[in-house]
Amino acid sequence: MTKRQKQRLVRGALYLVFVAGVLAVGLLADWETTRRNFFNAALAREMFPDVLTIAARNTLLYTFLAFSFGLAFGLLLALMRLSSIRPYRWLATVYIETFRGLPALLTIFLVGIGIPIAFGTRWPTLVTITLGLGIVAAAYMAETIRAGIEGVPKGQMEAARSLGMSYTWAMISIVIPQGFRIIIPPLTNELVLLIKDTSLLFVIGTTPATKELLKFGRDLLNTHANATPLIVVGAVYLAITVPLTQLVRVLERRNARSR
């Protein structure tokens, strides 16, 4: 058998397996029950407008808060990692490795139960949420931001310093703005990850007014014993995240062209 014939045979076999799989799913699944349990139009309709005005709104709000916190704190960590002062570098490295290495759920959980124990009172939910998710976000963003700053040619800092600008001013007005331009695509990716990670915030404990999308969907799943709410919130997630990932693609293409 020639190499070409062999290839054709393998490809044919793969198609066959695929078609058989699709047929098996199509014939064996109980479509009527599935439709009733996952695509209940009446139940889906009932979810509106709350799924948007409460759940999606909360998801976006938590994302925004955690992202802002993560960005500010991540920038600080990145600068510490690039610092000439050894303890700063060391501290930042330990922080970043710790919170990138732990499951986000564990960190959020620890913040959720840790604050009331450590400070004797419950803090406002928004603060706890911002911290819980923001601490994790900062660790990831710090590495992205550091890469961005290191991606700016050394000559930029030198030119700024040669004009008499201080290190801090040169960073703020020359290096950091250029670094951020480089990392807008990966940072947007992290935003998308963060949107999805808001679904972990249920462990902090929520009231009807503070539910985010997934918690909102799961609670309805439990009360109605029907999975339609999960399909609906899934669609809402996609409506938010897909445009963003497309945006990343456009930005990356533009970055590639400008180089």
């Binding site: 030119a159 040669s162 600008m165 250029q178």
Partner: protein
């Protein structure tokens, strides 16, 4: 400048040593530039001439020795390096314009932040220096839209906008296409004619001969010889200088 010429050197380098790890790049340099003087530093690559230039405004930390800027020691641990640097303009081989800022902003940002000039004042100075390098029409352009020669002229204008007492040039034409070298050298020639104190690391022997008041030949981390351009370039005393000049042609 109020200081009369021949009194305090603009740049005075004393017993300067610089090592990168085990590699000794500067092996005790003594050297000075007087106010209004144009000194061209020549020598083979790896001779330490760029390192010397970068030690003058302390972009590179020296290992030992001193650099005095108009009498102030910039290598001293307590020196106000930023203030001293603002008196020294520097032009880089790779231009190093700020690509995210317009030409105008490239020229005004340090004026405002370091010289504490108002926006209007900084703008006025920027317009004046751009005219001096012949690029008034590019004030709103971005660096990426300029040719290499234009970028380097903007970089010179950026340094001039700080109204420095002296200018350092680190191989300012080495990254340029041959047809763009002339416009940059013309700007530098004008500067020299206007009495600017200049220290120029260069491979442009024609420029050194025509514009330089003095030529310094460096090789292997030491100053081999220095003197009037015509003498050094046509009648060098040292074998190493002779060999170098033969090579560059």
């Amino acid at each position: 400048m109020a200081t009369p010429a021949n009194e305090v050197p603009a740049i005075e380098v004393r017993a300067l040593h610089k090592s990168f790890g085990d590699l000794e790049v500067l092996k005790g340099i003594d050297f000075s530039v007087m106010p209004g003087e144009v000194v061209c530093v020549i020598g083979p690559s790896g001779s330490g001439k760029s390192t010397l230039l970068r030690c003058v405004n302390r972009l590179e930390e020296s290992s030992s020795g001193q650099v005095l800027i108009e009498g102030d020691d910039i290598t001293h641990p307590d020196a106000d390096v930023d203030a001293l640097r603002s008196r020294i303009g520097m032009v880089f081989q790779a231009f190093n314009l700020f690509p995210h800022l317009s030409v105008l902003r490239n020229l005004t940002i340090a004026q405002q932040r370091v010289r504490r000039r108002s926006r209007a004042e900084a703008r006025e100075v920027a317009a004046r220096t751009l005219e001096r390098v012949g690029l008034s029409d590019k004030i709103d352009a971005y660096p990426s839209h300029l040719s290499g020669g234009q970028q380097q002229r903007v970089a010179i204008a950026r340094a001039l906008s700080m109204e420095p007492d002296m200018m350092l040039f680190d191989e300012p034409t080495s990254a340029l296409d041959p047809e763009l070298v002339g416009e940059v050298l013309a700007v530098m020639r004008d500067l020299a004619r206007d009495g600017m104190t200049m220290m120029v690391v260069t491979h442009e022997m024609g420029f050194a001969k025509e514009v330089g008041d003095r030529v310094v030949f460096m090789d292997d981390g030491v100053v081999v010889e220095e003197g009037p351009p015509r003498k050094i370039l046509t009648d060098p005393q040292h074998e190493r200088t002779r060999r170098f000049l033969q090579m560059v042609g």
